[in-house]
Amino acid sequence: MPGSPTPLSVLGPQCDDERHRIRRLFETGTSARETLSALCALADRNIQQIFGDVLRVHNAAPQGLCLIALGGYGRRRLFPYSDLDILFLFGGDKAEQESRPLIAEFSRTLWDLGFRVSSAGRTVEECRRIEEDNAEFHLALLDRRFLAGDAELFERLDKKVLPGSEKQARPFLLAQLQKLTNERLARYGNTIYHLEPNVKEAPGGLRDYQAGTWLRRIVDDKKELRGAAAAEEELAANAVDFLSAIRCFLHYSNGRNDNTLTYELQTAASERLLGAENGTGGSRTGDIPRSAAEWMRLYFRHARTLNRQLLRYLEQKAPVPQSLKQRLLSAARGARLDAGKTFAIRDGLLEVLDLPALSDRAVTFSLFAEAARTSTPVSRDAERGIAYILTHPELPAKNKQVTWVALREILGADYPGFALRPMQRLGLLTEILPEFQLIDSLVVRDYYHRYTVDEHSLRTIEHLQELAEPPDSRGTHFTQLWKTAEQRELLVLAMLLHDVGKGMPVENHVAGSLEALEGAAERLHLSPEEKAEVHFLIEHHLDMSATVQRRDIFDAGTISAFAGTVGTQERLQRLCLLTYADIHAVNPEALTPWKAEMLWQLFVATSNHFSRTLDRDRLHASDEKSMLERVRAEAAGASIAELERFLEGFPRRYLAVHSAREIAAHLALYKKLGAEPVQTELTSKRHAFSLTLLTADRPALFATIAGVLAGWGMNIVKADAFANAAGIVLDTFHFVDLHRTLELNPSEIERFRQSLADVVNGKAPLEPLLKGRESASRARPPKVAVPTRISFDDASSDHSTLLEIVAQDRPGLLYEIGSALARLGCNIEVALIDTEGQKAIDVFYLTEQGKKLSSQKQDLLREVLQGTLG
């Protein structure tokens, strides 16, 4: 006689009472681990009872059918509103057919009792086959646990069928797990630092721990965890407890399987000191978190532990894929670095060869500089080794005072993010820049921002470095700006500091960030000019974005006012890059193509404004009292009247691109003109030279200087030519010593200066110098063809005609252009010379006998230049 099932009217209230009891216990301090076990035991009991009842009612025997718990339920970690993942395992097709009505009734009853059943049915034979489109099922099966029914059937599956098929499917499961994990991490922007994180799925969530555990099981890693790995595992277990407590709390608070830690629930959890009171979540110093922001820092610390562990497992099992070219380059680089070195590049990752050597910070920083220079990630193992060294008391740190010169190597490299990320994880970033600690894992509640403040700041830098090969059209315009930006190290330093004020008790975060800069600049020994540049970028980091959104960027007045704030083309370039990256790093959708286009339009209009208004904005020295004082402080013994005479009539750009110290040096040269009519100053900086030349204006002066430089084999990359009201010309040429003549033969420097002065003074001819160079330099074909473009503009200046030339750069080009201008009687009032790869971009303000060029002269000049430039 079939027995009657326990009625729902009895089971239902029993279940509800037990659920309430478990919840009450959790809310009064029972650990998440015990809560999850209790919930699991409740489910197990009900499943076993209902399954037994259903068998009895249907007068069926359990042979050929068993119930298996999978996934989290299989691991006995059942959260309050999680699904019950159950597998119905059949001995064969017949058993499957016969069990259908029974399973339907069983599932229905569980639903009625408030369990969310997520079930699958397979025969033993089906379990043997690998379903290539359902890797999740096979991964869940790794956590199988017998629930009820035919125990022998489970035994057969567990001990005979699956071990063999799982071993065979190892490569498939491993690849699928890596793919699923990488896709999941990418869905969340590959960062743990979300303002409202999902504690299950997001990087650093519980899924990270599970994926790491599966990775170890799939590769059958049975090694006992020792030393650092064992300590890491203990930290991970604490992190799992902390996150499990949060997830339980979220389920109970939301009344459903919702794992998003919203702002409201962050406040509620921090008020309850969730996870912080039992030692699992306590901060390093044992402090109790006093605010939601502090409590979130605990969350991020635990999330970081889980994420770091997963990434290390992923990296160990899957070397970074590389193209053949990358592999060859790495091999060559690795071979070069290996001998007697402390680190080397292996499989596209930087590995440490001599761990104790890294107690010297200079060595550690050279490793990070290599990462930033070559875009090579530091391996997780290397990172773990460095972390060990950093905390090992037997290896006291050497050279802990990092200099700006060393830091500049990293910040000014092409890929600074490759160094800054691991430096942040290791605490080295805050060691050299303690101000960054203010925004460590800091949640600032904001509708638009998606990441914590430190994450946002690092992302800005990563968005810039990816401009080398922009991933989408939004970055296309800005690529060239990034590649040609000067003083990138200052831009990157500004990005690291631009939001640190958000972690300070100030009303305006920009003011806070500027205050933080003061300390950083002093500690790093930034020069006054470097500090001023970073100060400007931080102070104005929101200006360009505000101008784009709140001003009419097609209005000349807007452009003129904005240009007035920015001051120079070089600064504009850095500010534009900062703005691009700052908007981009708010959230993945913040920089729409529309906004990127608007930003570009503002950049272009302002840039053109700078180059077209050079001779409109002339200096009236007597109006510049504070600047005069600053220069006088640098120039011992100079009188104000002398200084005013020198500066009167220079374009304002002169003031904008030279510091007070440089102007004082120019003044010193100016004062010596009476004794020697051509004054020069030559400085070198990283294989590049700067030449400043002062003399009275004379015909073809610009062409002559350009000719001497070409004759000596120098490639001019940038130049300014200004004249003051008294006709004194100040030309600045930045050039690259192509044949390293001056670098390898210091004695040649004096000969070079003399040669320049002699040719400019007419004491020596230019032609012999040029002759030797011509044949050799013209032989090389250009890598990129740049069509010549010549345009005249009579409207931008009241006094001069603007000539803009874009042409293929080549040695001697500027000499050829300058000579053509001189032959046709054109006087250069101002010149602005620049290069961009193999493209020369030259702007000349020209007059002919003090007036603009006639249209006939313009036509003739165009014809001559076209003939010269091709």
Binding site: V548, Q549, R550, R551, D552, I553, F554, T592, W594, K595, E597, M598, W600, Q601, V604, A605, S607, N608, V786, R789, S791, E804, V806, E836, K839, I841
Partner: protein, 112 residues
């Protein structure tokens, strides 16, 4: 009920939004758009490369309004979006047959 679509200068958007909020209009759909009417584009040259801006950036506002407030909203937009220059944009009004709130299936002006 009327549907209002306004194409305005991006630089006026914040002011228009604030003015509408002051008269109690909070709900609107905003889209970043490009286009041109009488205000034609222009060509900028930067470092030898031409950038033609033939479609100018604008902001499109869309909202469905009860008949009683349509005139006030139109006047507010006219007042705050106007700079007097070509390119200030346009307002389009059209009649709406029905509005339905998806959550509770309310209809008509109650759904707005």
């Amino acid at each position: 009920m009327m549907k209002l679509e306004a194409i305005i200068q991006p630089s006026r958007f914040e002011s228009v939004k604030d003015a509408l909020r002051e008269i109690g209009i909070e709900g609107m759909t905003v889209t970043e758009v490009r286009g041109h009417g009488r205000q034609k584009g222009h060509t900028e040259v930067y470092r030898g490369r031409e950038y033609t801006v033939d479609l100018l950036p604008k902001i499109k506002l869309e909202m469905v309004l009860p008949d009683a407030v349509v005139n006030t909203v139109v006047e507010t937009i006219l007042k705050t979006a106007k700079t007097g220059k070509i390119g200030d944009g346009k307002i389009f009004l059209s009649r709406v047959e029905e509005a339905i709130r998806i959550r509770n299936e309310e209809r008509g002006e109650n759904a707005l």
